[in-house]
Every structure is written in C-alpha cells, then in structure tokens.
C-alpha cells in the first residue's frame, strides 16, 4: 500500500524533479519531527496514555493509604525508596506529593494535552476537509513543547525533596514558601517551569486549531454543516486561548514571589515566631487568577469529550443528532458562562455574601445548557437502531456520568450548601464523575471509534466490552461512596483519618473504594493490551467501518500526508443524514450532492440542486496510478 503521497500546491503542474524527496522520508521526519497532523495526534495520544498510567498508579498508591491505613507497604520500597518510612508507611509529605501530581497529570497532561492534542489534531483537518493544520511546523512545536514540559514534570518526581505537593491548584503561601514543605522547594520550581512550557504548547496548538477551522474548510463546509466534534474542539481552543494566558500570569507572579523577593501573594507571615519581610500581598489574588483559568479549564477538558460523544452517538444510533442548533448553542452558552463562575470555588474565602449570590446564580445557569445537551443525547438515542460498539458504550457511559456528576454540581453551586461541602470528598466525587470519568470515557470512546482511521485496523470488540463494563461499574463503585464520606465531613487531601472518632465508621467504605479503584485500574490494562495488539495484529479496517457520514471516512484506509489523494471532496449536506426516509442506505455522507439523492430529498433540498449545478460537480480522483 502506498502511504506516502506527493503533495503539491494549488494547481502547480507536475515536475518530476520535485518528486523524490518526499517519498524517502526518513524515520525521523516521518515519526519523530513530523509535521503531519495525524502523526502528531498519535504522539499526543501515546504520551497521554503514558501519563495516564503514571497518574493512575499514583492514585492507587494513595488509595492504599486511605483504604488500608494500617497495612505495611514496605514492598513498595524498591520502587519508592525513602518515600516509604521505616515502619513501612507512606511518608505523609509524599502522600501530598502524590495527590498533587495525580491532579496535575490527569487534568493537564492527560485530559487536556492527551485529549485535545489527540483528537483536535487528528480530526480537525480530516473532518473540515483540509490537507493539514494551518501551520504544520507550529503544530510540531506544540507537541515538542508538551514533551519538554513532560520531561521536566517527570524529572521533578526523582529529586531529593520530591515534586510539588501543594495540590494541583498550588495555592500560595504554601506553594510560595520553600520553608513551608519539602514539595515547595525545587519541586515547585520545576512544576512552574513545566506548566509555563505546557501553556506555550497549548497556545500553539489552540491557535492552529482555530485558524484551521476558520480558514481551511473545504468547499461547501459552512459553519452550519460542521460536525459537532469540530464545534466542540473549536470552542475548546477558544476557551484555552482566553484562559491559559491568565494562568501564565498567575504562575509568573508566583515565580517572582518565590525567587525574586516580591510579595504579590504574601503578607504578614510568621514562621517560628519570626515575621517574613514580605508585606502588602494577597493570597486570594492568586485564587482569583487561578480559578479564572481553573473553571474554564474543566470545560477545556470536558467539551472535546462531549463533541466526540455527539458524533459517536449519532452514528451508532443511526439517527440524526437531535437539535443540532441547540447543541451548538449550548456549547456556546457553556463556553461563555464558564468565564463568569470562577468564584464558586471560593465561596468560603470570606467573600461578600452578595457577591457570592451573584456567582451562585451564574453557576446555576450553567446547568441549563448542560441539561440541554444531556436531553439531546437521550433523544438522539431514543428509538434509534442502536449499534453497541465499544465506542458507543463509552459514549452512553459518558452521558450517564455527566448526569450523575452534574447533579452534584448544582448542590455545590449553592453557596450555603457549599460551606458545608467545600473541600470534602463530596467535591472529589463531583468532579471525578463529571470531569475525570466523563472526559476519560470520551477519550476512550474516541480511541475505539477512530482507531481504524488512525492505524488502519480494528480494535477487538469483545475485549472492548469487557473493558467497558469493568470501567463503567468500577468508576461508580469508586466515586459514588465518596459522596457519603464527603457529606459526613471528611476533608480532601488528608493523609489519615483514623485519628478522628467521627470517621471510624467509614473505614470499611474506604476500603471498599480502594478495592474498587484497584480493580478499575487493573481493567485499563485490557484496553492497553487491546490498543497495542490491534495496532499490529488487529483485523484490517474497511474504508468506512461505522458507516459514518463525516469526511474522514472518504480518505484512503491509511491516508498519507495530505489526507486525500486527488481533490478534497466538497461538502453538500450536514453530517447527520442517518436513516433518511426514502434513501437507499441508512446513511448519506456529507460529500454526496443532493442531485445524487433525488429519492430522499426534502423539498427545500431539491431547490439546492440548482445551486450545486452552478458550483459544478467535483470529480474525486483518488486512485490515479502513475
């Protein structure tokens, strides 16, 4: 199979001298410093999976501490060295480092870079009909900045004083003062450097995604014909472009406080009875800046998963998506609202109660577009000819998790209730269902669904089902009980709770959660095996294995750099013509003109035929051998 294609620009005629250099791409330029969006997407995916394993393993270690506080984990000593104390216990400071790194890795490295980086890169050019991203070079830089930031974060795990430990939100003064804890020494510096580079990577990627969607759509691909995946990726990139620079500013000021003697976030601090020289700063300032990114960030993580789900659910229900415009509208609603609710993370910081009510009101409004989306997913599924592929199961799982995690958001959004629940395991349960698990499900669903396009082979379905049921039941068993633990008042990020009488009765429940977590984590290795095995040994994919409408399935099974041999197909219809009454097949891809489907056209579509004629039929010439 020829997988490399010669690219030429607009109407440039063939010139035989130019041909050869592209055919013998070296290994390095093809797989490492590649500018092909599909290769870069795979690089993001593999790196994301790598981080997911590390982040997941960390959570298992701290779950051991929470579930079995009296057990001896000396057997981890070969791996963790002096982080395990003489008595075979996890070092309390290391526990904090673990939660911090788990959060940072999962939120930024797995569900931001791993998710957007993979699917925005892979799908935007393929679904809007472009040869590549607007700037392949910038795209490559984006990955390598991510890689560099990963290396730095990774190296912080191996230093003497350990990685950052002040939780993923790195609130000062804890994070600002090296004296405060071991993790705030070199580890915190590396965290900040790594995140700064990470932000550069995200911005480079995001600028590319937005430019590509706006400028490089193929003929006929109007905004109202864009697949919902693209809408979601597009708005995610916009949110990122507006919010990541703010985190950058926050981090920069923190760097100055830590290393250059300023006092933006520091004031009136006494250590061992001695006052620090810093005066005039405000620790709350950091929280405002952080959450101005932090809340949009949770949607940066979620929206791509919602986009992926829209596509998979419509395809596998064999029905048009219900309420396309409402879906786009609620994506817009969520994106805009996500910038005006950040203070719901700060209800207990002593803010003016009136201000608190305003933020409470704005927060609760987000429930409306979120509910619209859920409603539309369910109505799309309703009476569909559902095909239960593994991708579809994970997408339905996402809808379920989004509901059960979203409902608790409404509790937390009420400032009066939040005073009780803030910083308890209730919050942990809330965001692990709605963000952690839902986005993770979206990501896995995307991998199952687009694996054939990525690697030209199918993943094993049976293993997919096993993986799904273990994971779906698993995450509920892990996170549902946490609501009770949280309502009982158990605070997050505590090393040990056995000293508190009130929490004795939860020992069993905690043990149960830990066992469920271990099993769920273990089940992910089924996926890993399936992923790598199928990459080389899987069943060969057909051109359009899911009978889907979007443009990526019009490319060859293994598309080369440039995606379409011959002309890029033009687009005539929206991507959701499934089970159209009168049509021969139960799907009509986007590039089929209305003139070719007189039997199923609606009256207003027949009128469009004349316009199509004017724009001239386009010949797709895919297999011209030379």
């Amino acid at each position: 199979m020829a997988t490399e294609h010669q690219l030429e620009g607009n109407g440039v005629s063939h010139d035989d001298h130019d041909h050869d250099h592209d055919h013998h791409q070296s290994f390095v330029s093809k797989y490492i410093f590649s500018t092909d969006h599909k290769t870069i997407a795979k690089q993001f995916l593999i790196t994301g999976i790598f981080w997911a394993i590390i982040g997941g393993a960390m959570s298992i270690i701290f779950r051991l501490q929470l579930g079995f506080p009296n057990s001896n984990v000396g057997w981890l000593k070969p791996l963790l060295g002096q982080w395990i104390t003489e008595e075979g216990k996890i070092d309390p400071e290391f526990y904090l480092a673990l939660v911090t790194m788990h959060g940072t890795i999962m939120v930024f490295f797995v569900l931001t870079a791993g998710l957007s980086g993979t699917f925005s890169n892979f799908l935007i050019p393929l679904q809007v009909g472009a040869r590549d991203m607007a700037s392949g070079f910038m795209n490559m830089l984006s990955y390598w900045f991510f890689f560099l930031s990963s290396v730095i974060m990774m190296s912080s795990l191996f230093i003497q004083t350990g990685p950052a430990s002040g939780s993923w939100v790195v609130y000062p003064p804890l994070s600002a003062l090296p004296q405060a804890m071991k993790g705030s020494e070199l580890g915190m510096t590396l965290w900040l450097v790594s995140m700064a580079i990470f932000i550069v990577s995200s911005l480079l990627g995001g600028i590319n995604y937005i430019t590509t969607v706006i400028n490089l759509r193929t003929k006929g691909m109007t905004f109202s014909k864009l697949p919902l995946t693209i809408w979601a990726f597009f708005l995610t990139a916009v949110i990122g472009l507006l919010s990541f620079p703010v985190l950058f500013s926050a981090a920069l000021l923190l760097v100055f406080d830590r290393s250059f003697g300023t006092s933006f976030y520091l004031s009136d601090i006494y250590i061992g009875g001695e006052a620090l020289p810093n005066t005039g700063g405000s620790a709350l300032l950091f929280q405002h800046l952080f959450w101005f990114l932090g809340h949009p960030e949770v949607y940066i993580v979620l929206l791509p998963a919602l986009g992926i789900t829209s596509e998979i659910i419509a395809t596998n229900s064999r029905k048009p998506i219900f309420g396309y415009r409402a879906m786009v509208g609620s994506l817009f609603g969520i994106s805009i609202l996500s910038f005006v609710v950040w203070a719901h993370h700060m209800f207990v910081t002593g803010m003016n109660p009136f201000l608190g009510s305003i933020f409470m009101f704005l927060t609760l409004i987000i429930a409306v577009p979120s509910a619209v989306k859920v409603f539309n997913y369910i109505t799309t599924l309703w009476k569909g000819n559902i095909v239960f592929t593994p991708g579809m199961l994970f997408s339905i799982g996402l809808v379920s998790l989004f509901i059960s995690g979203g409902v608790t958001g409404i509790y937390l959004g009420n400032s009066a209730i939040d005073i009780q629940l803030h910083d308890t395991y209730f919050v942990v349960a809330h965001f692990h269902l709605v963000m952690g698990s839902a986005s993770f499900f979206g990501m896995v669903a995307g991998v199952y669904h687009w694996f054939p396009k990525m690697f030209g082979r199918m993943m094993d379905e049976k293993l997919g089902y096993v993986h799904f049921w273990f994971t779906f039941v698993g995450v509920y068993l892990v996170f549902f009980p946490m609501h009770y633990i949280g309502i009982a008042g158990f605070p997050r990020r505590y090393y040990s709770f056995t000293n508190f009488d009130a929490f004795q009765s939860f020992t069993d429940l905690n043990m149960f959660v830990s066992v469920a977590a271990i099993i769920t984590f273990g089940a992910q290795f089924i996926f890993l095996f399936n992923f790598f095995y199928s990459m080389f040994k899987g069943r060969r994919a057909t051109l359009n294995p899911w009978k889907s409408n979007t443009l990526e399935w019009t490319t060859p099974i293994n598309p080369g750099h440039g995606n379409w041999p011959g002309e890029i197909p033009a687009v005539y219809r929206w991507p959701y013509d499934y089970s159209k009454p009168g049509a021969e097949d139960d799907f009509i891809p986007q590039h089929i003109p209305f003139s070719a489907t007189p039997e199923s056209n609606l009256p207003h579509e027949n009128e469009l035929i004349a316009e199509e004629k004017e724009e001239e039929g386009i010949v797709v010439d895919e297999t011209k051998e030379s």
């Binding site: 020829a2 607007a134 300023t262 004031s267 005066t279 300032l285 101005f292």
Partner: protein, 193 residues
C-alpha cells in the same frame, strides 16, 4: 508502488484572510489576556488596601512619544511598500527599529529612575507591578524588534513590495499592537497609581 496524487484546483477557501495573519491575531489575543489578567490583578490588589502611591518616572512620557513615533514610521514603511517605494521602506523600517530599541533603552532608564525613588522590584506589590508591566511589555517588544529586523532584511532582499505585503503587513499589525499595549498600560498606571 507509489501513488501519484494529482491535486486539482483546490476547492475555494471560505475566508480570504491569510492563515498566518489570522494566527497572528490569535497570538495577539493571548497577549491581551496576559495583560488583562495582570491589570485586573493590579486593581484587585489595590482595592484590597495596603497600597502605596508611586509617582511614575518622568521618562515614561518621553518613551511613549518615541514608541508612538515608531508606529508612525512603521505605517510610512507599510504605505511605501504598497507604492513600491523600496528606498523609503528601508529608511522607514530602519528608523522604526532604532526608535524601538531606544524605547527599550528608555524603559531601562526609567527602571533606574524608579530605583532612585526607592521603588524596587522587591517590596510592596504597588511597585513590583510597575516592573512587571514594563518588563513583560519590554519582553514582547524585543520580539517585535526581531520581527522588524526580519522584515528589514527581507526588504533588502527585495522580498517586500506591493505584490508581497503579507510579511510587512503582519509586522505592522504586531508593532502597532505593541505600541497600543504600552499606551494602554501607561494610561492605566496614570489613572490607577
């Protein structure tokens, strides 16, 4: 077994703005957000109390004039390129670059002035913020000067003319933006110090 691809005329692009220009605008948006965050942080901190009033260095005025002047010469260069008056492009671009560099020197001098008034980077945020604003802006301005030099070199290689306006156009956009950004920061500090 290689497949040759015949790329026929590509379907028409929906938007005629050059992708690079568009990306530049997005880049500018992200810089705007950095400074929006910084100036909001300033306001939040100020309303928090424990503030000291700082008199801005006089040299800010002169620096502002220099930078605005550089925007004028940048615009002249752009117009000249449109009219294929390449000599004028070279002269105007050179002046712009020199003005840009003198602005940077001027900002450095104003740091000295601040230090003489006993306002240091360390210490209360009121003073530190001025250093952060000017420093961060200066940092971006350095990238702008590099861009100017790239365009200048391109001009000497006859790559800038009325049929090839993209590079100089982007440079002008970026430079005017950096100029406007400084004017904003300066007025902001005048009103809120």
């Amino acid at each position: 077994m290689n497949q040759h691809i015949d790329m026929k005329n590509e379907p028409v692009r929906p938007l005629s703005m050059h992708p690079q220009r568009f990306a530049l605008w997005l880049f500018i948006v992200s810089i705007v957000m950095i400074f929006a965050a910084m100036t909001s942080a300033y306001i939040v901190k100020k309303s928090d109390g424990d503030w000291v009033d700082i008199i801005l260095p006089q040299s800010f005025w002169l620096n502002t004039i220099v930078l605005v002047a550089s925007s004028v010469t940048m615009h002249m260069a752009y117009i000249a390129a449109k009219r294929n008056n390449l000599n004028l492009v070279k002269i105007a671009m050179t002046i712009t670059t020199i003005l840009g560099l003198s602005f940077l020197v001027g900002q450095y001098v104003s740091w000295g002035e601040l230090a003489a008034m006993d306002v240091h980077f360390e210490g209360k945020p009121a003073g530190s913020f001025i250093y952060v604003f000017t420093g961060l802006h200066g940092f971006h301005l350095i990238s702008g000067v590099v861009f100017l030099i790239i365009v200048l070199v391109a001009t000497f290689r006859f790559k800038v003319h009325s049929k090839s306006m993209n590079l100089i156009g982007m440079c002008a956009t970026y430079w005017h933006f950096l100029d406007g950004l400084w004017v904003y920061l300066f007025i902001f500090l005048l009103l809120n110090h």
